[in-house]
Structure formats: structure tokens, C-alpha cells
Amino acid sequence: MAEINNNKPRNKQSLYQTAVGIAVVGGLFSVLIIAVLGLRYFRYSYILPMQENRLAQIKTELASGAEDEALLEQFRELDFESRKIRIQWYDFTSMAGYPLLFNLAILLIGAKLAKSLQNDKPMPVPGIKYSQFYVYTDSMSRRAVMTAFVLVGGMTIVIAMLSPEINYFAIEEDEETDTAVAAVPGLPSREEIAENWPRFRGPGGLGVSQYTDIPHKWDIETGKNILWKSPIPLEGRNSPIVWQDRVFLTGATETQKQVYCYDAASGELLWQADVPDKDVAGSELDLYPDTGYAASTAYTDGYQVYAFFPTGDVAAFDYDGNRQWVVNLGQPDNIYGHATSVVGYEDKIIIQYDNGLHDDDLSWLIALDWQSGETVWRTPRAVTNSWTTPIIIETQQGNQLITVSEPYLTAYNPDDGLEIWRTDRMSGEIAPSPIYDNGLVMVISPYVEMAAVEPGGDEMIDESYFKWTADRGIPDIASPVSDGQRVYLLSTYGGALAVHSIQDGNLIWQDQLGGEFHASPSIVGDKVYLFSIEGVGYVLEAADEFVKLAENPLGQEVHASPAFVEGRMYIRGEEHLFCIGYSE
């Protein structure tokens, strides 16, 4: 028995040594294979690229017509050598895997066997208070988990700080500005804006006057209620804008662009200022005559006036006619010429610069800094060129900038230009601008339909946001106007007027005024003002039936929409700016 007991450890020791030997053999063979792999990898990774570079070099020399037999021979040798290295690498890696795996298995088996022959089974240490053990481990675990949480939190903060923040829709442009930034202290309040007529179709761009003391009859022959009329130096289809005692217009020809400032009280032309071509010469444009070179209405914030021209130039002037800055928005590509008007939002000047077709990547919504003209944000738009002017509306979800072009009605956040929602229902060559009333955005697809949309949702909105649509008397140029109960639609040809209920879009009445119309209708109290191209100012009753109150010829063509401020209406004729108000 004693012999057996003595033999057991010896056998075990011998077995242990064998196992270690097996492991070492497996390990050595593995190392050998790895070493050869490493060598081949070195040749493949470092020598081969050098040879390939040289090959490319020789190939270029040979291709250029060099007839050097030695060079050709060198090329052949190098080519052969490089292919050999590559093939050897492929062959060896495909062959070496299995022997390597086998030898690693041998190594592991030997090591495992040696490990199992070591009698080192864990033995418990004496004495333990289990309860205390768990109090300790649980407490430590909680601390460790909390520490991990804090560490992960810290890492998150660091990562968040290092994370790239790219807003694709805010591509800054390095446009140079002409002059220094105006040192103007503040921006107009909402009340101040409401008291004036700072943009196309007045505050909110809705064509609704805050004032009702506007005469509905005037006579150009007798001068009744014509307070003054002043000549306009250059032609243009843009509308007048008014801020307190100033009235602004723009005018342009193929070669010249100007901004005009009139004294609201006397009609005196206080100043006129030229707008230089920033990048694109106006003469390069081939514009549609009905649009002309100054179709876009300017914008004013009480400190400066901002004008936009179909050349893509935007210019800012102070109230003394000093040019503050001028920038160009890029090459225009608009089949009839740009007619969108400038709008303002807080410290930003916003222009809907739609060009080309929807897949041309040429359309942008651009916000410029009012003081410097530098781009604040710039949002690309997949839309076709259009002639509409955006409006900015207040909703429960915040302010939204509403734009209309084919094929999208799109709402943006005016602060950063990020899209909020859209629908692809728009069609045609769209000139009528959107309006907003009774919580509904009303938009026109020329000759097709008017749609009333609830401004909500996100991304692509569905049919549930469309409260109603109407398809009778849909205009193609003039924008609609709402008196809160009815929406008035004015067609270009024949003066066809269609009035729909704002509640359900049903047609209330329709009639014809005769003539042609470009100017959009306006609401003044309980009256509707309309100006035909022929220069006739129609005043109708805003009612459930057609009631014409007056028909006032102006004596010259009218293409622009009027501006209304306290007691006065300003209307741009073909040659003159008219001020209409109660004459004593």
C-alpha cells in the first residue's frame, strides 16, 4: 500500500510534466507559424506598396512614350515580384489558419491538463459572518453602481461637449457687406408694427387694415380725397410700405435699381438711393415684362428699409438714405423673375428665394441679420421657383413661418429656419401668398383649389390637418383676403370674384367686376378694396352678397396692392404714388 501511495504523486508529477511539454510544443509551433505570418505580413504591408508605387511610376513613364528596354525589364521583374508576394500572402494565410488553430488547441489542452493536475482546489478560509458579509458587499455594490452612474454621467457630459453640432439648414455665408453695421438700439414692438404698414399686405401680410377711416370714394378729376400724388422715378410692380411719416417704394430697370423714400404728409421724394449689383448684373436677366425688375415689396422695421431685386441683391438703407449693406443671395433662376417680398422677424430679414425646379437644389429660405446683412440661417427647399411671400403666424406651438411653393406648403421656425411641418399638396405656378385667419392657413394652388390647413403636427402632415378645400374661382396671381367670416378670391381675368365661407369653404357668392387684376384685395373695416390693372379702385361691402359701394378710376395702371395707415391709403400707379385720404 505504501508503494502505491508513493507512486501516485510521482505519476501525477510525470503526467503534469508531460502536459506542460505538450503545451510548450503547441505553443512553439504556434509561435513559429505566427512568426512566418508576421514576416509575410510585413512583406505584404510594407514592401508591396513600395513596389506598387514604383510600378505605377514606371507605367506612367512607359505610357508617355519612353522606349527603354531596361525600364521595361525592371517593370516585368517588379510586377512578377509583387504578384509573388501577394499570392504567397494569400496562400499562406489561407493555409496557416488551420495549423495555427490546431497548435493553439494543443497548447490549450496541455495547459488545461496541467492545470487540472495541480491540486489547487479552492479551500474556504475559516470563520465568516455571513450577515456582515452581505451588509458589506451590498453597501459596496451600491457605492460602485452609483460611482459608475456618476462616471457615465460625466462621460456623457464630456461626449456631449465634444459632439459635433451641424445644422444643415443654417449654412453660413461669407458674404462681404459693404459698410459698417448700423448702431441702432432696438427693434420695433408688436404694437408699433401694427400701427404701420411695414411689409407687403401690411402687418402679418394679411391685407387687412387696422384702420377703418379710409375714404371709399375719391375722384382723380376733381381731386376729391386725393391728398397728393408724386411721380415715381423708375417703374416697378412693388407695393408701398409705410412707417410713420415715411413711405417707401422701389423701382428698377434693366440697368438701375433704386429705393425711394417719400414724406407721408406731403408726398415729397425725400431721397432716392441706388442699389449696386453685388455679384450678378441685372442686364443678364431675361425677365417677364409683367414682373419687371422691381416686383418685390420692401420691408421696414422703423430703422432701416430693406429692398430685394430679381438680381438676387438685397440692400438695407437707413432712414436718411445711407446704404448700410448689400448682399447677393446667389444666381437667380426664376422663369418670370423674382417677385417675393421681403419680410422681417425680430432681428432677421427673411427672403424666400425659390429658384429652378424642385430637384435643382437652388431654392432657399434665407435669414439675414438686419444690421449686418450676414446670413443668420439658410434653409434649403426642394421646391420649384415661386412668387409668393411668406407670412409669420403665432400658434400655440410657437411662431411659424409659412411658405408656399410647388409642391410644398411648409412651416418653419423663424428663429432657426428649421422645418416644422409640410404638405406636398401644392401645385402649379404659385403666386398668391398664404393668409392666416380663424386658426387656419389658407393657400392657393392656382386654378386648382384653395385649402384651409390647421398649422400643427410635425414632418409631413396628413389629410386630417386639412379643414376644407374649395375649387371655385381659384385665382392665379392675387392673394386671398379674409374678413374673419369670408375669404375673397380675385381672378386675374375678368375680375371674377368668388367668396367662400371661412368655416367650411363653401361658396357664398361669386360675381365679376370686369377688367384684369394683379393687385391683391384688401379689407378695411366692413369694406373690400380692389384695384384693377386699368386703375379702377372698386370698393365692395364685405358681406354675404355682392354689393358694390364705389368704383373710382385712378387714371393710370395699378399692379400693386395698397397700403393703409391711419386715415390714409397709399396706392402705386404706373407712374405716380397716390395718397388717398379725407380731404377736409
Binding site: V24, V31, L37, Y41, T156, A382
Partner: protein, 436 residues
């Protein structure tokens, strides 16, 4: 240096060199023919026939059944080990680690959110079988069938004990990895569990250098720490762990009763054995109650903080999506912040698609990431809050137990138990009586 340590070092070196040597391969350049030879069209080999997939499912089902028998009936580590080696060979080296239930987690997640994404029935079964089994018999899949576990198991030579508190913290990585993998899969960024599977390159004897290096590091770590990937990172293990806690039959160290001899105390290299708890003092109970109350109050804030933290990294996470990276690149090129183009940006421009549509797509993806990051962060907060509460609630047990969630059902602890040895000797005696 002791011989054993030398062996370990050699192993480590070999693994590292393996990783280096089997680095990425470049394409063989086509020869410059001048004889009008037309290069043949590259042919893509067809995928494996469905037949092989059904075989894999059948083998998986059989292996799970046999594994359950070995662990719960035979209680044999040797048989379980043999099955594990078979699984390593079949599911690992033969099937090259794919399809595996671990990666299938991503397929399942995508199919839940994308109605147009179809999951083959074989993948569905491969994903569900181990989970279903865990409801009855715990993590038999991990211990005996999973090739990723097996390859780590075979290199385990010198297991070191990981302190329980450290184990608790490291396990959070698994939850983070699971959440991250699901967010990335659902948003279409990719299947990172498969992409960064540390061992699949070994199974295929080829692969990306980085992934091979990660795998090599795991195996070197696995020499000293039992199955580090399974315990601290495996996303499927998270699911199995939770379901196994509900399992009807749990792995028992002792075949009948625990005599508290403590011989099994340090037998588990995976830290899954729980000691008896002893009696709690009234002071301890009071302290635990107090901490529990605080944690319950803090719980919603921890979840919210997690969600907020997650939301802060959504920008970075979204950059894992190729379309977002492409949009970034195009943006940088368009805005003049970088010069030149990349292959990707050139290819995009060649498609004729509008840049705006790419920007919009990228913005949509980023919005998805924003939501996903909130959920991911909230999930992590939930896990941390839950873990803190778990470590506050006192568990009562008067015997040594294999933790139902953490036990990998490898059968190592059986042979340490004197009651098991008694059972085996009785079994031997019975055999002798029966068969002479």
C-alpha cells in the same frame, strides 16, 4: 518566471500576433491586358441553402436538450464540457458563428419597429429557443451551447475572483451595450453586436484587425477572468439572466441538501454562487429600510437623469449612421469647411439625388436618434435604479445557492459538493449491484 506564467504569456503573445498576422486583405489588382481580353463579371456565391439553416436549428434544439440532460439529470461537468467543445466546433468554426441568437436580438428589434423587415423563421427559432429554455432550466445555452462562451471557457486557466461590487458595476456595461445595440439597429445605423462580435473572426480565421484585437484582448482577459464577455457585455445574456430568474427548475449545487461545508464557496469562476445570508440584525434591517425608502424616492429622478444624459449624446450616436455621416461630409464640402471630396460624397453626387433630400433624411434620422437616446438613457437609469434597490433588499437563504440569473449552468460546482460525491458513489454502488 514560473512556468505557468510563461505559458500564459506565450498564449497572450500568440493571440496578439494572430490578430496582427491575419490583418485585412486588399484586393488583388486586375492585370493590364492589352489584347482585348474582357474581364469576367465578378460572381457572388449564392447564400447557403435553407437546408443548412434548418440543420442548424435542429442541432441547436438537440444541443439544448442534451445540455439540459447533462446539467440537470447527469449533473456532469465532463459531459457538459464535451458538449461545449462540440458546440464550439459546430456553431463556432463550422457555422462560423452565424446565425447566433445574440446577433438575432437585433433582427428581432428591427422587425418589431419596421413592418417591412422580415425575419426568417430559422432566425426567429434560434433567437427564441434559448430564451424559452431559460424559463424552465436557466442558462443551459450559455454553459453548454454558446460558441462565444465556449471559446472563452477553453482559455480559462487561472480564474481570479472578481469582487462582487465590481461585478455589479461591470454588469451595467451589458445593459448599456444591449440598449445601444437596439437603438443603432432600429435606427438603421447597423448591427454592432455582429459587427463587433469579438470571436467571430477567430471562427472564420480571418477578419478585421481591430475586431481581432478586441477578441484577442477578451481571450487574454479570459485566461484570468471567467468569460468576461458573457458576464459583462453579452446583450443576449442580459435577456437570459432576467428570464432565468423566473426559471421553473434552477441549477442546484447540491443534489439534495446543502450541508454548508463551504467547499463550493469559491468553485465558480463566474461569481455565481451565493453564500447563506445568516440572520439579519434589527439594526441592519432598519438601515436597509431607510436606504430603500430613499432609493424609491430617487428612482424616477435617476431614470429621468439617465434619459436626459442619453439625450445629450444623441448627436454623437447619430453619427454612427452612414447617411448622417454622408450628410455631414456633404455639408462640410458645401460650406467650404473641408477641401476635396471623399469616395462616398462623390458617389452620392453621382446619384443625382438632391442634397436637400439627404439633409432631410439625415435630420429625420437624427430625430429618431434623439428619441432613441432618451429611451436608452432612461433604460440605463432604470437599470441603475433597479440595481441599487436590488442591493438594498435583503435576500434570505440558509444554504449555498447558484444564483438563478448569473449561473451559466456549466456544472463546475457539482464536483465540489460532498453530497454530489456521495450521490455518485451510491450510483456507482447501484451499478455494481445491478451489473455485477
Amino acid at each position: 518566471m514560473r512556468r505557468k506564467d510563461l505559458l500564459m504569456t506565450i498564449l497572450g503573445v500568440i493571440l496578439c500576433l494572430t490578430a496582427i498576422a491575419a490583418g485585412q486583405t486588399r484586393r488583388f489588382p486586375p492585370p493590364d491586358f492589352q489584347s482585348g481580353y474582357e474581364m469576367p463579371t465578378t460572381e457572388t456565391p449564392p447564400p447557403d441553402a435553407d437546408f443548412y439553416e434548418y440543420i442548424a436549428v435542429a442541432v441547436l434544439a438537440a444541443a439544448l436538450g442534451v445540455g439540459t440532460y447533462f446539467i440537470f439529470v447527469k449533473r456532469s461537468r465532463k459531459y457538459a464540457w464535451a458538449l461545449m467543445i462540440f458546440s464550439l466546433a459546430f456553431f463556432g468554426f463550422w457555422r462560423m458563428g452565424c446565425v447566433c441568437p445574440i446577433g438575432a436580438t437585433q433582427n428581432m428589434a428591427v422587425s418589431m419597429f419596421d413592418p417591412g423587415y422580415a425575419v426568417p423563421i430559422t432566425v426567429l427559432i434560434i433567437f427564441l429557443l434559448p430564451l424559452a429554455l431559460s424559463l424552465f432550466h436557466g442558462r443551459v445555452f450559455c454553459g453548454t451551447v454558446c460558441p462565444l462562451g465556449a471559446i472563452q471557457d477553453v482559455v480559462l486557466l487561472k480564474p481570479l475572483s472578481v469582487p462582487f461590487w465590481l461585478e455589479s458595476s461591470l454588469r451595467l456595461l451589458g445593459y448599456l451595450y444591449l440598449g445601444l445595440a437596439l437603438v443603432l439597429a432600429i435606427t438603421g445605423a447597423g448591427f454592432i453586436i455582429c459587427q463587433y462580435d469579438p470571436f467571430v473572426s477567430f471562427f472564420r480565421l480571418s477578419g478585421n484587425f481591430g475586431v481581432l484585437a478586441i477578441g484577442g484582448a477578451f481571450l487574454i482577459m479570459g485566461v484570468f477572468i471567467g468569460r468576461p464577455y458573457c458576464r459583462f457585455l453579452c446583450p443576449y445574456g442580459i435577456l437570459l439572466r432576467q428570464l432565468s430568474r423566473l426559471s421553473k427548475w434552477k441549477v442546484k449545487i447540491s443534489p439534495d441538501e446543502c450541508v454548508k461545508c463551504r467547499l463550493c464557496e469559491d468553485s465558480c469562476p463566474f461569481g455565481a454562487i451565493r453564500k447563506p445570508t445568516g440572520e439579519a440584525s434589527s439594526e441592519e434591517l432598519a438601515a436597509r429600510k431607510k436606504i430603500l425608502a430613499v432609493l424609491i424616492l430617487l428612482f424616477p429622478f435617476i431614470v429621468l437623469a439617465g434619459g436626459f444624459g442619453g439625450s445629450q449624446i444623441s448627436g454623437l450616436l447619430s453619427r454612427s449612421h452612414h447617411d448622417v455621416r454622408l450628410a455631414d461630409r456633404i455639408y462640410l464640402e458645401e460650406s467650404g469647411q473641408v477641401e476635396g471630396t471623399t469616395d462616398e460624397s462623390e458617389a452620392f453626387r453621382g446619384t443625382g439625388e438632391s442634397i436637400e433630400s439627404l439633409y432631410e433624411l439625415s435630420a429625420e434620422i437624427q430625430a429618431e436618434f434623439s428619441r432613441g437616446s432618451w429611451i436608452l438613457g432612461g433604460f440605463i437609469g432604470l437599470v441603475i435604479g433597479g440595481t441599487l434597490i436590488k442591493h438594498t433588499i435583503r435576500r434570505n437563504s440558509d444554504e449555498y445557492l447558484a444564483d438563478a440569473g448569473d449561473c451559466l449552468a456549466c456544472g463546475r460546482c457539482f464536483e465540489y459538493c460532498p453530497r454530489e460525491r456521495l450521490r455518485l458513489s451510491k450510483l456507482q454502488e447501484d451499478k455494481q449491484v445491478l451489473y455485477g
